[in-house]
């Protein structure tokens, strides 16, 4: 089925609610870029590669979110992805359940910004979440059930929140999300504990994650196993994050430590990924900088088979965001890989209508 046809069908399906219920509104998110890259030679291109169609509806204690992304992810071919398909139930102000395809409650960035580049200060996610045309190593999407509870610490003293998730977890590759068929029977468990500030600490979020999963082997059929296929692995991910985001100040730091242990030989592959970013808003203009570091202690068969090279990353980027309106932001960012000669300049108009 052609993506264009799929888009029309899915958009119609989402909008059908709009005809029946006047309060259902479709929102559109996306970005238009001009990118210049320099390795040995310089290349430049315009990009209009993402359209995100978002719909939500609330009826009493139940709500629905549907998010469809039409994206040319690193190629010139558009494809359609249902990024979120959630039904939520909120029986009390401090308890919340969700089920469906959702953004994992891992770290800060994933569920703070979802796919809205308009809301982000830099032009895109940190590489540990998503790169230009590939999925990051953080397990940021899955299908399953989510529950979160909040415990208030008193007036203006913030709250503790606990997120618990039971998910299908990883597919056979980073970009494979098992939406219909899980490749193994074990489920991923994700726990996130956070302090969310209030009063004089409003804007502060500090927390950590424990994520446990079994990664399925690349294929169960030995006749089809490619040479670089990975075997089944047990996965443990520990994460920590701290953010202080106010109307003016933008500070976010995250780290995640991964250990993959093969089922057959118990061989470990460890990876450490982290980033820190800082910005300060002067009215509508926010200059910012971000540093990203990823270290692979050993070659990780799962990451390598997913197209992530066994090469450490030291990436420094800096730029400026101009909030042109409540729907459009214009950004200009330059980035350099400190280990290679790769340089990148990107101008972006990100929108949220």
């Amino acid at each position: 089925m052609r993506p264009g046809f799929s888009c029309a069908v899915l958009a119609s399906a989402l909008a059908a609610g709009g005809a029946a219920r006047a309060d259902v509104t479709l929102n559109f998110f996306g970005d238009i870029n001009y990118s210049m890259q320099h390795d040995d030679a310089t290349s430049n291109t315009f990009q209009a590669s993402t359209l995100d169609v978002f719909a939500t509806q609330t009826e009493g204690k139940f709500s629905f979110i549907g998010e469809m992304i039409i994206e040319a992810d690193g190629t010139n071919e558009f494809s359609v992805d249902i990024d979120r398909l959630e039904v939520a139930y909120k029986p009390t102000p401090w308890l919340h359940f969700r089920a469906g395809r959702l953004r994992s409650a891992f770290g800060y960035y994933g569920d703070a910004y979802q796919n809205g580049k308009y809301f982000m200060t830099p032009v895109s996610w940190p590489l540990m979440y998503e790169g230009n045309g590939f999925d990051g190593i953080v397990p940021s999407h899955s299908i399953g059930v989510h529950g979160d509870a909040a415990y208030g610490l008193g007036e203006d003293r913030g709250k503790l929140t606990l997120d618990v998730e039971l998910l299908n977890g990883r597919g056979t590759a980073l970009d494979s999300v098992p939406v219909f068929h899980d490749d193994n029977n074990s489920k991923a468990v994700n726990l996130r504990l956070r302090y969310v500030g209030d009063g004089s600490l409003a804007g502060l979020v500090v927390g950590g994650n424990v994520y446990v999963d079994d990664v399925p082997a690349e294929t169960a059929d030995a006749a089809e196993v490619p040479d670089d296929a990975h075997v089944a692995e047990h996965e443990l991910v520990l994460g920590g994050h701290a953010a202080y985001v106010t109307d003016h100040v933008h500070l976010i730091g995250e780290l995640a430590w991964f250990r993959h242990r093969t089922h057959d030989t118990h061989m470990d592959s460890r990876t450490l990924a982290m980033f820190g970013e800082a910005g300060y808003s002067f009215g509508d203009v926010t200059p910012y900088a971000r540093y990203e570091y990823t270290h692979f202690y050993e070659p990780d068969p799962y990451f390598v088979a997913s197209g992530i090279p066994f090469v450490d990353i030291h990436l420094l980027s800096a730029g400026v965001k101009y909030a042109a309106s409540a729907s459009v932001a214009v950004k200009l960012e330059g980035a350099v890989d400190l280990d290679t000669s790769h340089r990148h300049v990107l101008g972006q108009a990100a929108f949220a209508f």
Partner: protein, 148 residues
């Protein structure tokens, strides 16, 4: 001595601008609720909590649904300036982000008082802003939330 007429005009223009500014500052808005919602008063922080998404339900458990205008609607500018101390652009971006995250229900939109009143009439948890003048003659199923 020759500069006096100019100084007079200058003073007059300043006085007019001052009067306009004073009139604009006095032209306020009030928070209105559906009459089924028993919340009769809120502190300024309480209003901030409602419109920031920090408070998600009314005391009776009804989900809060906002009625908001566009970036340049007078009510939105008043809310952003008088309650939050930020620009309407910043406040709207924050609301959009919370909606996109799934933290708060999608707001209803209305760019004038009549539209806001109609929206507030549509559900028990709906809350919006109307001008002082309109607040004096609200329909029976819409009531004011006094801000302390």
């Amino acid at each position: 001595m020759k500069r006096r007429p100019f100084a007079g005009w200058h003073g007059l223009v300043c006085a007019c601008l001052l009067a306009l500014w004073a009139g604009r500052a006095e032209a306020g808005f009030v928070v209105v609720r559906n009459a089924k919602n028993p919340t009769a008063k809120l502190s300024k922080d309480g209003v901030k909590g409602v419109f920031s998404g920090k408070t998600k339900t009314w005391q009776g458990g009804e989900t809060i649904i906002l009625v908001i205008g566009s970036e340049d609607s007078p009510a939105m500018q008043w809310l952003a300036d008088a309650i939050f101390g930020v620009s309407a652009k910043t406040l709207l971006s924050k609301i959009k982000q919370d909606v996109f995250k799934g933290d708060v229900p999608h707001p209803l939109s209305a760019n004038d008082d009549a539209g806001t009143v109609k929206r507030v009439q549509s559900g028990a948890g709906v809350v919006g802003l109307v001008s002082d003048a309109v607040a004096r003659s609200l329909p029976a199923d819409v009531a004011v939330i006094a801000v302390e």
